[in-house]
Each structure stands twice: as structure tokens, then as C-alpha cells.
Amino acid sequence: MTDATTTPNGASPAPPKQSRRQRRRQRPSKVTSRRMMPEHLLPDFIPPEGVPLRFTVAGVGARLGAQLTDILITAGFVLGIILLVLLLRVELGDGWSILFSILFLFIRAPYYILTELLWNGQTLGKKITGLRVISATGGSLEAHSVVVRNLMKEMEIFVPGTYLIMAPTLDGLTYVIVLLWIAILLIVPLTNKRRQRMGDMVANTVVIHHPRAVMAPDLTAKVPAHSETAERYPFQSHQLDHYGRYELQTLERVLQAGPPYSGPDAKRRHEQSLQTIMGKILAKIDYPEKVPEADALAFLQAFYKAQRAYLESRRLFGDAREDKFHKEENGKAE
């Protein structure tokens, strides 16, 4: 037995070193791919059509903001009604306590349930902050889910919140328990990828940022095939072998940024970065001709088109190149 345990230990020094070296070689590509993935993407959201959709999960901060907005709105609503009653000089007598208890009851769970049901998962606060509740199953948001997540809200926000307001009157132990309670409730959403609070878990819902669709123009359309630019900057296929998807899309982002510019300073900075990028690309692909710095935009547009056409056709043949390390990775695989 002892022999069996010691031998691997004795033999072990070599393999870890190797794996560390391997890890080091892999590291750059890992970093870049992580940088490409937006951080809070909702994983595995598949609607009935079967094509995964991407939603950005709302963080704890955004949701606290929405919650506070809602509390302010509802408190304002109650104040407004009370002011109205006072201004109209209605004699209520005992009615005050009834009015109060009904109003205060309404601005808790019922308000959230009604608004989320009527506006497809948005309370007024969520509308203002651009958040929305969706069903994590990929189907439509059910009345049941809305009710459950807001009933749980009672336990998660309102009851501890009330205790916190009453804090000065509480004895030490209760105070500690309430603080612990709130701490746990704040930690729960941070422990899972979907930022679900307990109500969300039971109801199977997720809070997301409402997506905004902005269509940027297709950059390749700016370089027609037989135009002056395309003919001035021809590229050979070996010159296009250096980069992958990540570099292409980074270049796209830079090209999409300009014009119109926000000011002369922005224009200068953009032109400078275009020139820097062009310099790097020229060096990397070993471009035989000299390109004047003033032509950086035209060159990069032509390069973008050629590179994209090349990468896309490689992709169709099953050679999807993630980034500039694709050669190393392929080499290793072989």
C-alpha cells in the first residue's frame, strides 16, 4: 500500500511542469476569449424556436436601483392620496386607519404582482431602469411565477426592511439576526450566474436588461469590389492567415466608431489609433508597399473586407479561427 502511494509522488515532478508549460501556452487565447464574452450573459436561454437568445443578466446594483425607484414611486403615490384627502377636507375619522392599512398593503406585494402581470414583467421602477423579468424556461412569463417571486419579496425585502427601520427599538440579538438575514439575502444573488434571488429561484425567473437593437452599417458595403480602394490595396491569402475572429471584430469596432465624431479632439484621436493599427497590421502581414498615413481609413476598410471574406470562407470549410493564436492551437491539436 505504502509503495503504491509513494511511487506516484516520487515520479510526479515531471508531469506537473509539463502541464504548467501547456497552461502557459494556452493562457493568451483563454484571456482573449474571456474578454470577448460579455460578462453577465444569461446562460442556456432557449426559446421554443430552439435558437439560443442572449440576454444580459441585471446585476445586484441595477436591481437595487429599480427596487428603490419602486419604493419611492409607491411611497409618493401614498403621500399623494393622503395629501388629496387632506386638501379635499374629507372627514374620515376612523377611516384613516383603514385607508392607511389598505394603502400600505397595496404598495407591497399586490403592486408588484399587478404591474409585472400587466406590463410583461416590468414594474414602474423596472421600466425606468430598463430591467425586465423573464421566465428562465424560455416560455412566456406565467402569472404563477410573478405571484411567487413577489410573495417571496415580502420575506426578502419588506419584512427585514421593516425590522431595519425599527432597528433602534430592537434588542441586540434580534438586531444581529436581522442583519444576518439581510446579509444572506444579499449574498444569494451573488452566488449564482443568473443573479437570482430566492424568489427568482422558486419562480424560475431571471431579471435582465431590456435589449436595445441598434443597426450599424455593414462595413464591407463601403468597399465595392471594383472600386478604386479595392484595387489599390490587393491582399494575398497568406497575408490574411494571421488574424482570427477576435482581431477582425476588434478592428470592426474601431472602424464603426468613426465618423461622425463628437468633437475635433475625438476625430484626431480616432485617426491616430487608425494609423497605429495600420502600422501594426502592415508589419504583421508583411505588406510589400508603403501606405501613406493619410490613407489609413481606406486601407483598413479594404483590409477588413478582404480579411472578413477570407475568414468567412475558411469558416465555411470548417476552419473557424477564433483569434491570432489559431495556428498554435491547430499545431498542438495535430
Binding site: 435558437v51 437568445l53 383603514i98 392607511f100 392599512s101
Partner: protein, 357 residues
């Protein structure tokens, strides 16, 4: 012109008009609701959404155009939200709850209701026995303001005054007491329900505790020979209110049950399954507490006669019972439908057309 473009750009150019049209419809639906779309728009929304999702799937394979992918991602997500928005009206949701969902959930929770009733009765018996052994137990169980000045030290006349006090004289005091009791019991109900998730135990303890309070009250008044007056006074709202606590507690037990006995499912999944009925029980409990609050606030002081109090209180209790036993006994298929929560899975598209038409 089209030969000028590379393949993925051609793909985009061919479909861009449709996406723009979809975006217009989706924006309209977001602003004014799917219900306000015209027939053509609703029809196009469904068709164009499927096409856009299809394009997205293809684009992810063939295109490296970040602008296009981001746009399609966001567009499809927005269209999905519009297409799969809940199609039911609020009135429909409420009607479904009262006509089918709630009574069926209650009938499925028979054992849990019995267990919760058992816990409450256990408490009542315990409270009674405690009071008989030593009336000073009263002070250790009943919080100061809940008794409203009542206790072993109060005279029989004082106790009777609370029971038959006319509304005018002690009006504001009663209103305050009513709200307090209301919120006290609401809190108990909420705790009973939500703490059930911790393996039923807190719910059980809370139900027993509530029973003990009731038992102490009963024992005190029967001791003075005015027990039935208290029963009458309590009945008018208490039947509804105690039933609500029992129901909330049963809801908690269903959650706890899922945690203790998850069966073949994971605890989270089993919790979701039981949560379907448990939530209905909780909502019913909340509604019954509201009704009890209204009964307490208005009828208790209006109806002074003991017999009428008993009749009204238990009559309302009987109505609740009849509703739970008789409502929503449709065909078996319908019931199975409900149990699966099949309403959620109706595709938005099939019903969109109907709505618009």
C-alpha cells in the same frame, strides 16, 4: 451590385428590410401592447420573428459581422419578449384562480391542511391545559397589546365589555386594535408560509403557538362562564381568519414536504412543483385575511347578538368550504391540464391571431 458583396453581406442585404419591419412592429408592441396591433401587424410579427430567429441562427454560423450579430441578437430577444408576452387578461387570471386553480390546489393539499389543522388544535388543547394548571401562563404566551387589557386579572365585566362593547365609545381604540390584530395575524400567516421551506418545523411551531393563544383565551372565558360569548365574538371573523392561518401553514408544509421528500426530482425542481399549489394557498390565505379584517372591522361591532354572530361567522366558513369542495370540478382532462400548468406553454403565436381578430 449584389456580386460586389461578400456572401455574409449579401445575406444581410437581402433580409434587412424584413428586420426593419419587425423592429417597427416590436417597437409598437412594446409601446402600446401586443393587443393594439392590427391583424396584419400581428401576423407579420409572428412570421418575421421566426424568420429573424432563423437568420440569427444562420448568421452565427456564416457571418463575422459583429454589427449584424449584435443587432440580430437584440432584435430577436425583443421580438421574443413581444411574441411570448402573457396573453391572458388580468380578469382572466383572476377568474382562473377562483374558478379552478385555487379550489383544485386546495383539494390536492388535503393532507397538509389536516396536518396544519392538527398543529393548531394541538396548540388549543395545550393552551387550555396550561391555563387550567396555572393561569399565570397567560403572561408568558400573550404579548401585552394583543390581550387588549384582558387577562386573568381582569374582571368578568371588563371581559364582557370588550366582547359586547358598542362601536362608538371605543371606536378608535377598536380600529387600532383591529389593525394590530390584522397585521399580527398577517405576519403569522406570512411566516407560516415562508418558513415552511425550512423543513416544515417553524410552520408547525408557529401554528401550535397560535393555537396556544387561542386556547388560553378560550380557557379564560370559559373559566368565567362567558365562553360562548367569546366563541361568538371570535366566530364572526375568526372562522375565516383561523382558516386562513391553517391554509397558509398548509402552503408552508407543502414547501417543506418538497424539501424533506424530494423523491426522484432534485429539491429545487420538487420545490418548484409544490410551489405551484403552495403559492395558490398563500394567495388564498391573504385574501381570506383581508376578508377577515373587513368582517372584524365592520361586522363585529354591528352584530351584537351571540346567535347571529355564530350564524354569520360559521355561515361564511361554510361558504368557503363549499367553494373549495365544489368549484372547478371539470372534466379530468381539464384538471390534468391545470395541474401541469399547461396554460403557460401555449405558444404566443397561435393566440396572437385570435386576439387581433
Amino acid at each position: 451590385m449584389s456580386e460586389d458583396l461578400i456572401r455574409s453581406a449579401r445575406f444581410r442585404a437581402e433580409r434587412e428590410a424584413d428586420w426593419k419591419r419587425l423592429q417597427e412592429i416590436v417597437t409598437k408592441a412594446e409601446k402600446r401592447g401586443v393587443r393594439r396591433l392590427s391583424f396584419e401587424e400581428a401576423r407579420d410579427l409572428a412570421i418575421l420573428y421566426r424568420q429573424a430567429v432563423n437568420s440569427l441562427s444562420v448568421a452565427r454560423e456564416i457571418s463575422l459581422d459583429r454589427a449584424l450579430l449584435d443587432y440580430l441578437d437584440a432584435l430577436c430577444a425583443r421580438a421574443y419578449l413581444a411574441v411570448y408576452a402573457p396573453q391572458e387578461t388580468l380578469a382572466g387570471v383572476v377568474w382562473r384562480f377562483f374558478a379552478r386553480g385555487c379550489p383544485q390546489a386546495m383539494r390536492r393539499s388535503g393532507w397538509h391542511l389536516l396536518l396544519s389543522l392538527f398543529a393548531l388544535s394541538l396548540g388549543v388543547v395545550a393552551g387550555w391545559l396550561l391555563f387550567i394548571t396555572d393561569p399565570s401562563w397567560w403572561n408568558s404566551f400573550i404579548p401585552g397589546d394583543l390581550g387588549g387589557g384582558r387577562g386573568p386579572g381582569a374582571s368578568t365585566q371588563q371581559l364582557l365589555d370588550v366582547i359586547y362593547g358598542d362601536g362608538q365609545e371605543s371606536g378608535s381604540q377598536l380600529a387600532a386594535f383591529a389593525t394590530y390584530l390584522f397585521s399580527h395575524n398577517v405576519r403569522i400567516a406570512i411566516f407560516c408560509f415562508a418558513l415552511g421551506i425550512l423543513a416544515c418545523i417553524p410552520s408547525f411551531v408557529l401554528a401550535v403557538y397560535n393555537g396556544i393563544i387561542l386556547g388560553l383565551f378560550l380557557a379564560l372565558h370559559f373559566d368565567r362562564g362567558i365562553g360562548w360569548d367569546l366563541v361568538g365574538w371570535l366566530s364572526i371573523h375568526g372562522v375565516t381568519e383561523l382558516a386562513a392561518i391553517v391554509i397558509a401553514c398548509a402552503g408552508g408544509f407543502r414547501l417543506g414536504w418538497a424539501v424533506i421528500f424530494p423523491g426522484n426530482l432534485t429539491r429545487r425542481d420538487q420545490l418548484r412543483r409544490h410551489g405551484r399549489d403552495a403559492a395558490k394557498l398563500a394567495v388564498l390565505a391573504a385574501i381570506m385575511l383581508l376578508v377577515a379584517g373587513i368582517l372584524e372591522g365592520f361586522f363585529r361591532q354591528l352584530v351584537q347578538d351571540m346567535e347571529t354572530r355564530l350564524i354569520v361567522g360559521w355561515g361564511i366558513g361554510l361558504l368557503w368550504l363549499l367553494w373549495i369542495l365544489l368549484a372547478g370540478r371539470g372534466s379530468t382532462a381539464e384538471r390534468r391540464d391545470e395541474q401541469r400548468g399547461a396554460h403557460a406553454h401555449y405558444g404566443g403565436n397561435d393566440r396572437l391571431g385570435e386576439d387581433a381578430a
